[in-house]
């Protein structure tokens, strides 16, 4: 049984009279501890899939399972609880609270979870030991994204979801971030799901899922993922 599975998932947005299909029957599965990459152009439905998996949207039909639990039927408080305890989310634009220091941003997430990890350790882990008391405005983009990853990991989630984590970063910094994510997956055994439109990143993944027009076009298992350092784009 797969750790994460999408079974015939559809999602439609109703905009007044018009119904826009975002997902039309998506099936895929990811094993625990894998680094998965969803690839697709803009509008392929990858963000929708991520949002559904992150508990930020509900499905129109189909089933989504995480660790054997059907999360597509969760509602209200249960859904928030799922987000709170099972999911770590890394945004494209970091979304740090500008008014909190790096450490406090991590604490913000840590304080709401029962079995959270020490905020300070998390920052050490992402290599920001000496920037803990800086406000986001005083950090570079890569540093902010590290804080965001630390914040996601501090919750000790089952699943780390990353929405174009390198989208706003330069090449070098992006690589560092991807390295950090790959390390987290390898060393801590964290299941990581990453969406990107950059197909060059695909080789680093254990599983590559390609999407187009709300459908999965290809799922490829990668027995030997390429280390980040060797990837070029």
């Amino acid at each position: 049984m797969a750790y994460i599975s999408f079974e015939h998932v559809t999602k439609q947005y109703k905009m007044g009279e018009v119904t826009i299909p975002a997902l039309s029957g998506v099936d895929f599965s990811i094993e625990q501890g894998q680094l998965a990459v969803i690839l697709g152009a803009s509008g392929a439905g990858k963000t929708t899939a991520l949002n559904i998996l992150g508990g930020m949207e509900t499905v129109t039909s189909g089933t989504v399972r995480v660790a054997g639990r059907d999360i597509s039927r969760l509602k209200g408080k249960k859904l928030i609880q799922y987000r709170r305890e099972d999911i770590g989310f890394v945004f494209q634009f970091y979304n740090l609270v500008p008014n909190l220091t790096a450490l406090e941003n991590v604490e913000l997430a840590a304080q709401i979870c029962a079995d959270s990890l020490p905020a300070s350790d998390m920052l050490d882990q992402v290599g920001l030991s000496d920037r803990k008391n800086n406000f986001p405005a005083q950090l570079s983009g890569g540093e902010q994204q590290r804080v965001a990853i630390a914040r996601a990991l501090a919750k000790n989630p089952r699943l780390l979801l990353c929405d174009e984590p390198t989208g706003a970063l330069d090449y070098q910094t992006g690589k560092q971030i991807l390295q950090l994510l790959q390390d987290t997956c390898r060393k801590d055994g964290m299941t990581v799901l990453l969406i990107t439109h950059n197909s060059a990143i695909a080789p680093m993944a254990d599983v590559v899922i390609r999407m187009a027009s709300g459908k999965v076009t290809d799922i490829r298992q990668n027995a030997h993922p390429t280390p980040i350092a060797e990837i070029e784009w």
Binding site: R84, I87, P98, N99, A109, I112, A137, R151
Partner: protein, 1188 residues
């Protein structure tokens, strides 16, 4: 402007309609309320002015102490500037209102087209002389309706004729009079005896030939606003001219009145003389009649005496005859008594005999009874003894029967015993034989066994037989005893029988003797009975003889007494007749005497009447001589209670209506401004894009300016259009309870409308332009890059580590957020503080207004009434009046004072008229008026030669303690005086001087000319009556009850109080909108942050708290600031509002702070609570969007 830019603006408005609406709403409230409140007083004055003009209301009014005539009207019309003039008659009359009477002012209906036209509300104008029209308030208190009859009563003085042809009037319609725009309904005035209502009758109904007032209008005055200075100065000019003709007209009226009066008096004198002669003649006739009656009575008395003598003689003869008959009867009685004694003695003897014989007879009967009893006893006993004998014989037979068997048994038994003896003897013999044989055998040595056995058997047999024999012997013995007994019994019975038989023989002898005795007794009885019969006959003979003798004498006696009665009857009848005649005579005598007396009284009366009438005529002559030349009073509309209070009230409103909406306006502008700034900042990326596309800064800014202008102008215009109608209407609805001005309109007030619109638009557009300028100035690239979010900063508090450590994580975040957005921090605090301040001010105004009356009437002014005497009252009369006044039951105590109107003039030329009080007793004065020093707050006592002024006059004159002012009396004499103290006072202006001080200033004493009174009650019939009494007393020129003044002030303030409620409600509405707006800005500014923490998994409640904690702190801070600000604002508004003669003491009660704070906090909490739902609706996908 390009088409796409226009489209952009249009779409922008559609897309952000909430923001657009909120700016428009702010403008609506700010501009609308500002214009609305300000327009209210203008509208009111306009309505009133229009109404007065429409009704052709007077500009000047002339009254005279002796009435006015058509000649006066004509004269007034000649005065330059006078447009029209008309006379009118008015009088106070009483109208029955169910529970008592109500004093109302009756006036004549003006001719059509004339002055002071009535405004017909309902029904028809009165045409006939017996009809009337009344205001609604009079219908309300009398409970009548159109078509009903209304009875009016005049308070007429002696011999005064009614001024009206009809006093029972049919109500034909309901009207309003421009002279009475101040409505009495809902006012307290009724309680204090003032004239509050009125009614109009056609002039035909009035019989008086003079006018009580003449009304006049001034040329061109109608075109001016009655509440304007231009109007006032125009009227003042004409007033001066009008006053100039007063003297001439006064003299003319005086001549007319005295001429008429003298003619009337002469007529009266002639009439009186005639009446006197006629009266004397009547008196003489009466005297003659009385003399005749006296003669008749004397004759009657003589006749009566003669007949009395005759009767006496006749009755004496009759009496003598009766006396002789009496003697004969006495003799007969004596004879009768003698024979009666003898007969009685004989009779007694016979009676004695009868008793003896009767006794004997009784004894014989007794003896006979006893003997018969003895006989019966004997016979009974004999029967008993006979019975005993028979019983004995029977017993004997029985005993013999018992004895016979006994004897037989004995014989049988004796035989039995003999048999046993025989057997015994045999066995004994055998035994002896056996014994002997044994002895032999023993001797023989033979075996005895067999023998022994035999012997033993024998012995046993013997024993058995002996035993049986013993039994029989015993039985025999018993039997013998029984036989002996029986035999003895029989012997005894025989002896008894013998005795009994002897007894019976004896008894038979006794019986025989008794029977012989009874026969003897019976003979004796019959003898005695014969004797008794003889004796009874004897007695009867004696009794009848006596009775017949007595009856004869009694008959004679009865005849005599009848004769006597007859005599007495005829005698008393005769005397009664004579007595009656005498009594009649006496009565006649008395009547005569009464008649004489009465005649004397009538004569005295008559003399007095004539004398009185003469005196009256003399007095009237004197009075006519005393008639003073009349005085004219020329009044403007200020003298009309209704119009002048309307003027004051609408001015008050104007003053109140400026400051308050201004603050309101500022808050609204502040909030719209923050919305616009926010919008510009939000769209910096867009601005950059436009710039990059090559649009100029002006073009870009135009979008925001047009956006803001459209919102503001639309909001303001709609707000002004709506609120300029609604607010004045609402306020008018309040004032309408007090004022009867039947028309009202809410025209657009262009001045305030434009002012509000321009102020509102320029503020918001200006602020938007400033915000745009800041952005447009930057380079496009800079703009397109996301604006560095407001960097997080350490706040000052963090440096205080011990304190900072104590806060938990979220508290720290809250505090840091608070200080991060400084602009929003101040904006929110200002907004909330503004609203809280407005609400507090609303309550503060109420408190201060409500407080004023107790402050003045409980804290300062303590007297219940002040009565000022006329100038012609001298010292002696004043002392008498004081005495009278103190005897009144409603007067508790009184203080004589000197009161006078003076003008104070300062060195810088200001002058002001006020009332000067010089109390006769400075210490007692404290009970009537408290002089509380404004500096030391201590109560002062008047002394020395310095003057004490009240607070407001000192402020108006800009003088303070120690300054010198000039005090000018009405006669023009001036004196300089130093201000000794300034005291608290809230209504009117007063000055106080001590007696010594006054004397020193003017060199003459301040003679007392007024009384300050305390009454036992302040309202009620008694006090009304008392007030009226003083008012009617010509010696007093002015009487005013504190309660009446207080009620009037109370009425006025209750209006203001209600207006303030409108302000409070408006402020609360503003608070609501401001808070909502702030909450929205707050959320939209931080939507990304909030979406992120939602993605992080914050529960809805946690998100709410994260956001709300700041709002709560801001609300609390803002509210606190607002309460303080409200206090200052209250003070400020009251200062600008201070009106002539009124000082408000700014007061905000704790309760008001509490309520104002609560309202703000409740609204803020409500809005916060609503934000919970807005927060819940935030889409988390927002967090994924790129920074704009």
């Amino acid at each position: 402007m390009t088409k796409s830019l226009r489209k952009n603006i249009f779409r922008e408005i559609r897309g952000t309609w909430k923001r657009f609406l909120s700016i428009a709403l702010m403008a609506f409230l700010g501009a609308g309320f500002f214009a609305g409140i300000n327009a209210s007083s203008t509208d009111m004055q306009l309505a009133c002015d229009t109404y007065l003009d429409q009704q052709n209301c007077f500009d000047l009014e002339v009254m005279s102490t002796l009435g006015l005539t058509q000649d006066d009207v004509d004269a007034i019309l000649q005065v330059k500037g006078i447009d029209a003039a008309a006379g009118a008659y008015s009088e106070n009359v009483l109208v029955d209102i169910g529970e008592g009477e109500e004093k109302v002012k009756l006036m004549t209906i003006p001719e059509e087209g004339s002055l002071n036209q009535l405004y017909l509300v309902e029904g028809e104008m009165a045409e006939q002389a017996d009809e009337c029209v009344v205001p609604q308030s009079l219908l309300d208190i009398t409970g009548k309706k159109i078509g009903d009859k209304l009875e009016i009563t005049e308070t007429l003085e002696e011999e005064e004729e009614s001024s009206f042809r009809y006093t029972s009037l049919t109500i034909t319609g309901v009207i309003n009079s421009p002279l009475f725009i101040f409505s009495s309904s809902g006012s307290n005035e009724r309680s204090t005896g003032a004239v509050a209502d009125y009614l109009y009758v056609p002039a035909d109904n009035v019989t008086e030939d003079y006018f009580t007032e003449i009304y006049a209008t001034v040329d061109g005055a109608a075109q001016l606003d009655s509440f304007d200075d231009a109007y006032e100065s125009k009227i003042d000019n004409t007033e001066v001219l009008l006053k100039a003709i007063a003297e001439e007209r006064e003299q003319a009226r005086y001549d007319q009145i005295t001429g008429e009066a003298n003619a009337e008096i002469d007529d009266a004198q002639a009439e009186l003389d005639e009446e006197a002669a006629e009266g004397q003649r009547k008196l003489d006739d009466a005297q003659a009649e009385l003399d005749e009656a006296r003669q008749k009575i004397q004759d009657g008395r003589k006749e009566l005496n003669d007949s009395r003598l005759l009767a006496q003689r006749k009755f004496a003869d009759a009496q003598a005859q009766i006396d002789s008959a009496d003697g004969k009867i006495a003799d007969a009685w004596r004879q009768y008594r003698r024979s009666e004694a003898t007969a009685k003695k004989k009779r007694a003897e016979l009676v004695q005999q009868r008793e003896t014989v009767t006794e004997q007879l009784k004894q014989l009967k007794q003896t006979r009874k006893e003997t018969v009893q003895t006989l019966a006893d004997l016979q009974e006993k004999r029967a008993e003894v006979q019975q005993t004998l028979e019983e004995l014989q029977a017993k004997r037979t029985e005993a013999e029967q018992v004895l016979a068997p006994l004897l037989e048994q004995r014989t049988a038994l004796a035989d039995g015993i003999a048999q046993y003896q025989e057997a015994l003897d045999t066995y004994t013999e055998q035994l002896e034989q056996a014994q002997q044989a044994r002895e032999q055998m023993i001797e023989a040595g033979m075996d005895t066994t067999e023998l022994d056995a035999r012997m033993e058997q024998l012995t046993e047999a013997i024993a058995q037989i002996e035993a049986e024999k013993a039994v029989y012997d015993a039985q025999l013995e018993q039997l013998d005893a029984g036989i002996q007994q029986a035999e003895e019994g029989i012997a005894q019975i025989d002896a008894g029988i013998q005795q009994t038989e002897a007894g019976i023989a004896q008894m038979d002898d006794g019986i025989k003797q008794a029977e012989a005795g009874i026969a003897q007794i019976d003979d004796g009885i019959s003898q005695a009975e014969n004797g008794l019969t003889q004796i009874a006959d004897g007695i009867r003979q004696i009794d009848s003889g006596l009775a017949s003798g007595k009856a004869e004498i009694q008959k004679a006696e009865a005849e005599l007494s009848a004769a006597k009665r007859e005599l007495a009857a005829s005698k008393s009848k005769a005397y009664a007749e004579m007595d009656k005649a005498e009594q009649e005579l006496d009565e006649g005598q008395k009547e005569l005497e009464d008649g004489i007396e009465e005649l004397a009284i009538q004569k005295a009366d008559f003399d007095k009447q004539i004398a009185d009438a003469q005196k009256e005529i003399d007095e009237a002559r004197e009075e006519v001589g005393d008639i003073n030349r009349p005085t004219w009073y020329v009044l403007t509309r200020d003298g009309n209670n209704g119009i002048s209070s309307f003027d004051q009230d609408s001015s008050n409103l104007k003053k109140l209506g400026f400051t308050f909406p201004l603050i309101f306006f500022l808050v609204a502008v502040l909030i719209s401004l923050s919305s616009m700034t926010r919008m510009v900042e939000e769209q910096r990326g867009l601005i950059g894009t436009f710039q990059a596309l090559g649009y100029s800064g002006g073009q870009i800014a135009a979008k925001y300016l047009i956006y803001a202008a459209t919102a503001t102008v639309i909001g303001s215009i709609i707000g002004e259009l709506v609120l300029m109608r609604v607010v004045p209407q609402v306020i008018w609805d309040i004032y309408r309870t007090m004022y009867h001005v039947p028309i009202f309109f809410t025209p657009i007030d262009w001045f305030y409308g434009t002012l509000g619109l321009l102020a509102c638009a320029s503020c918001i557009i200006g602020a938007t332009a400033a915000a745009c300028w800041k952005e447009v100035r930057q380079m496009p690239a800079q703009l397109m890059r996301p604006k560095a979010p407001n960097p997080g900063k350490r706040v000052l508090l963090e440096r205080i580590t011990p304190l900072w450590k104590r806060f938990n994580f979220s508290q720290k975040v809250t505090l840091r957020n608070l200080f991060r957005y400084k602009k929003r921090f101040f904006m929110t605090i200002c907004g909330i503080a503004g609203c809280a301040a407005l609400i507090t001010t609303g309550f503060g105004l109420r408190d201060s207004i409500v407080e004023l009356i107790p402050l003045q009437y409980e804290g300062v002014m303590h007297y219940d009434m002040i009565a000022v005497t006329g100038t012609d009252v001298d010292k002696q009369e004043f002392a008498e009046m004081a005495k009278e006044l103190r005897q009144e039951s409603v007067v508790k105590d009184a203080l004589e004072i000197h009161a006078e109107s003076v003008k104070i003039v300062t060195e810088n030329g200001k002058n002001q008229e006020l009332e000067l009080f010089v109390p006769s007793d400075a210490k007692a004065f404290r009970n009537y008026f408290s002089l509380l020093d404004t500096e030391s707050e201590e109560e002062l006592t008047l002394s020395g030669d310095t003057i004490i002024l009240t607070q407001q006059i000192a402020e108006i004159m800009q003088v303070s303690v120690g300054d010198s002012i000039s005090l000018r009396r009405e006669d023009g004499i001036k004196a300089d005086v130093t201000i000794g103290a300034i005291v608290h006072n809230y209504l009117s202006h007063f000055a106080f001087l001590s007696k010594e001080g006054y004397e020193k200033l003017y060199g003459e004493t301040a003679d007392d000319n007024a009384f300050m009174l305390h009454t036992t009650q302040t309202i009620g019939e008694q006090i009304d009556a008392f007030t009226e009494q003083l008012n009617d007393d010509s010696r007093y020129t002015a009487v005013s009850a504190t309660q009446a003044a207080k009620d009037a002030v109370d009425d006025r303030f209750s209006l203001l109080d209600q207006v303030v409620w409108i302000l409070i409600v408006a402020a609360a509405a503003l608070a609501m909108v401001v808070l909502y707006n702030l909450s929205n800005i707050n959320i939209s500014e931080r939507i990304r942050e909030l979406a992120t923490i939602k993605v992080l998994g914050f529960y809805d409640m946690e998100v709410y708290q994260y956001n709300t904690r700041e709002s709560i702190i801001l609300t609390l801070l803002g509210t606190l600031a607002g309460l303080g600000g409200g206090r200052c604002l209250t003070e400020f508004i009251l200062k600008t509002m201070e009106m002539q003669g009124i000082v408000f003491a700014p007061t905000v009660a704790w309760k008001s702070y509490l309520i104002a704070g609560m309202i703000t906090i409740v609204f803020a909490t409500g809005i916060n609570f609503m934000s919970y739902f807005s927060l819940k609706k935030i889409n988390m996908v927002e967090a994924l969007k790129s920074v704009e």
